[in-house]
Amino acid sequence: MNQDWIVLLQQQSQLGKVMETNQKTAPYGLFLSEQDAELLIEEHHHALQEQKRVEFGGGITPKIIYEFCDSDFIDQNNYVDTIIKLQEIFYLYKNEMQDEITDDELLHFMKEQFEKVCFGDLEYLEGTCLNIFAQAIRAGYRGYKSSEGRGEYFQFDEVLRWDYELYQETLRELCWR
């Protein structure tokens, strides 16, 4: 069957919905010009094509913006670039997780790791956190369904984030020196 219809489906304009997000992001000092919004939509289409996915309905860009707009690691300078990269990562991992995870669960997971584990490092989010979580999902893990993707990563984290003994030792040294 001719796949032209897939192209047609992807051409639905989301400019209005993306521009609408400015109302909510303004308190966080984030603003998209019309050019920014067009760039986001263009990159969004690239990401969809790259991952061979078709989008319908409202689109994921506004959802990503609403989820990440209160981040400590996003400001006006890196706002557009970060959202573009987050779109790419989102679709990549929708595929990697074989569509087992809903949009909201994935976004919650991404946001939480972006803030608490990656501290704004998108490469670490993509290459480590999501990679490990995707492996767990492909292996059959479904615990995120009850948690909506929140508080999941610590089970799979391969790095010891907080060494309690080292903390005690350092504290002793500092206090009793």
Binding site: M1, W5, L8, V54, G57, I60
Partner: protein, 276 residues
């Protein structure tokens, strides 16, 4: 069929939303393709059933799609009812392929068939070869046609005592249990030989003189005439023993020419029954 694909996009998009339970805004190309095919299949069903003939106002892709979904559901129910009706007295005549396809395979189809998101998928392979070409059908249409074929075959085979059918199959091929051939056609071929020889089926063996008679028939008559004669006799038999079998005569006549051609060559080789 809709020329303009744009009209189908909102229908497919709505179906995709339902597929993801409104929890995902995107699907893979493969899934989108599957859902578009589901929409097209249902619209085709609506058009085929005659329910697609509607007023201009109603003739929207969404209306036709919803009508088609109802058609597919109704067809599935009819197929299941027909299957259950046949199953009560179904006889596979010890043929494994027929048994596996009808008794093992078809219930799996009804178990897994997805009317809403993948109605175009036939799911099972229907290994048992029926006499009608159903390769152009997919989904529930193919299954329904297959079950109808089996119903007609069972109707024809039940004209004869079970022992007779088993004996014919055994004489045709000692490994008849493993055959992936149509058993109805084997029995019909056997009957055709007796018809041409002018002998009753109760006679266990035909001798050289009978073979000579059949050979002369093929030498002195055109193939069309022989097929016509065989067709008339088979029709009369069906009319006599299975007068209410809708479409059975037509179903059997579809294979008469093939049987006649094989008989012609078989007689020449001294093996009219095509015994293996």
């Amino acid at each position: 069929m809709f020329e303009n694909m744009e009209e189908l996009l909102p229908v497919t998009a709505r179906l995709a939303e339902q597929y993801t339970s409104y929890e995902s805004t995107s699907v893979t190309y493969e899934r989108a393709q599957q859902l578009m095919e589901a929409v097209l299949y249902c619209i085709h069903e609506a058009e085929q059933s005659g329910n697609g003939i509607v007023t201009a106002e109603q003739k929207t892709a969404q209306y036709l799609y919803e009508t088609g979904v109802s058609c597919v559901k109704r067809r599935t129910k009819e197929a299941l009812e027909l299957y259950n009706e046949i199953s009560a007295e179904f006889n596979h005549y010890e043929n494994h392929c027929l048994y596996d396809t009808f008794v093992e395979g078809l219930p799996e189809f009804f178990k897994w068939y997805d009317v809403k998101f993948c109605p175009q998928d036939t799911i099972i392979t229907l290994d048992y070869p029926v006499l009608k070409d159903i390769s152009g059908y997919t989904g529930i249409d193919k299954i329904y046609e297959f079950i109808r074929c089996i119903q007609m075959e069972q109707g024809f085979l039940s004209i004869f005592p079970e022992d007779f059918v088993l004996q014919v199959l055994f004489r045709y091929d000692k490994e008849y249990r493993e055959l992936i051939d149509n058993i109805c056609e084997i029995v019909l071929s056997w009957v055709a030989v007796y018809i041409l020889a002018g002998k009753p089926l109760s006679e266990e063996n035909l001798d050289g003189a009978d073979h000579q008679i059949i050979q002369e028939i093929f030498e002195t008559n055109k193939m069309e005439d022989i097929c016509g004669q065989l067709g008339l006799k088979v029709s009369a038999m069906v009319e006599k023993y299975r007068p209410n079998s809708r479409g059975l005569t037509q179903y059997l006549l579809g294979s008469i020419r093939g049987i006649a051609v094989r008989l012609k060559h078989g007689v020449r080789a001294g093996n009219p029954f095509g015994i293996r």
